[in-house]
């Protein structure tokens, strides 16, 4: 058991997460306890600079955000692949270098394509 605790950072991470959540939750609970409670209809309505809100906020959203998210997933995973390569850069030699240059070149072509397709045109 001690070895597991000492070597497994996942378990330590989970314990820390639980601890922080508990402390923060305690603070939030404390405000519920300490703060006044005087609800009224206007105070509990969504804030909209003084207007009465007519529609729900969850409405259709520009597709651009979705495209950015897709691009992020593609690029972020490719960058994640680059990290182990960077660590073992000295051992893998010329083959590692050339294959990674090709990999990054494909990444760059993908970015060029996305720019040319006007995916990233924000107005």
């Amino acid at each position: 058991m001690p070895d597991v605790l000492h070597n497994n950072s996942l378990i330590v991470f989970l314990i820390l997460t639980a601890g922080v959540a508990a402390v923060v939750g305690l603070f939030v609970a404390l405000t519920i306890f300490l703060g006044p409670k005087k609800p009224n209809e206007i105070k509990d309505a969504p804030f909209e600079s003084g207007f009465v809100s007519k529609t729900d906020a969850t409405q259709p959203f520009p597709i651009k955000y979705y495209l950015v998210a897709i691009l992020f997933v593609v690029f972020d995973i490719e960058v994640a692949f680059l990290y182990p390569w960077a660590v073992s850069f000295r051992e893998i030699g010329a083959i590692g270098l050339t294959s990674m240059v090709v990999f990054i070149a494909i990444l760059a072509v993908g970015l060029y394509y996305a720019v040319k397709k006007r995916v990233l045109e924000w107005k």
Partner: protein, 320 residues
Amino acid sequence: MSLPEILLRLVLAFGIVVTFVALNALFLVWLERKVSAVIQNRMGPMEVGPIGLLQTMADALKLLGKEMITPTSVDRIAFLLAPIIAFLPAPLLVAAIPIAEGVGASDLNVGAIYLFAIANIAFLGILMAGWSSNNKYSLLGAMRAVAQNVSYEIPMLLAVLTVILMAGSLKLSDVVAAQSPVPFIVFQPIAFVIYLICGVAESNRTPFDLPEAESELVAGYHTEFTGMRFALFFLAEYTQVFVLSAIITLFFLGGWNGPFLPGWLWFFLKTYVMIFIVMWLRWTYPRLRSDQLMNFNWRVLLPLAILNLLISTVLYRGGL
């Protein structure tokens, strides 16, 4: 080590980290107000404590006693969890940052990846906050925050990659050890600038503060939050500034390496100078437009980061 010993260590480290996060964030809020005051030729907070040092402490106590408003139209569970999840990464990040040779709550062998992975949990909290508030300003702010943060994440990771390449390790103490005697900023000035820009964008600060642009979005994703829940977003943001500066110090400025002074003092000196620079940026530059923000990232920063990585790889291979 025996089990009680490990548990004691864990509890001690936890207590120190949480206390540090809270006090540091309060100090940084005070510092921000003072820096803005100096830049705008004002005095800033002066009344509470010596040169207003206890002002933010008083503010925090006041927020603790405020009414907690939960609007009727919100998604209750997500609304309750959002500030907690947004604050969660702050202490977890601080816990992974070593402040001197062998001093720190932990020094993970995948420290670099851990930092960037955990930092992204905050955006989940922001998205939850914006979505659950059922408020147009909040939703727009959250959407902008997430789009901006995921976009700037990529050049940021590519910039750090060049540093990892030179250090040959993901362990933070190894990265710092590789920078003795010459810090990486000398070899990687472009990566440093890219990282600084992306870091400021990730912490949603001016000139990249569109998610909370108060002149158009009220307060962005935390519009509907009051009392301690609002304070949690606020503290998380300032801890993020600290973490950003600490990461820059570790990866580019040589960490605790430095002559004469003890290591931890060098670390904090460099970190707080970086924090000051980030604050200076905030009070000097105006806000970008949404399209400028996105275009700048995808068309300038990302190609530049890829180019920088390729060039530094080839140069490094060639014997630099």
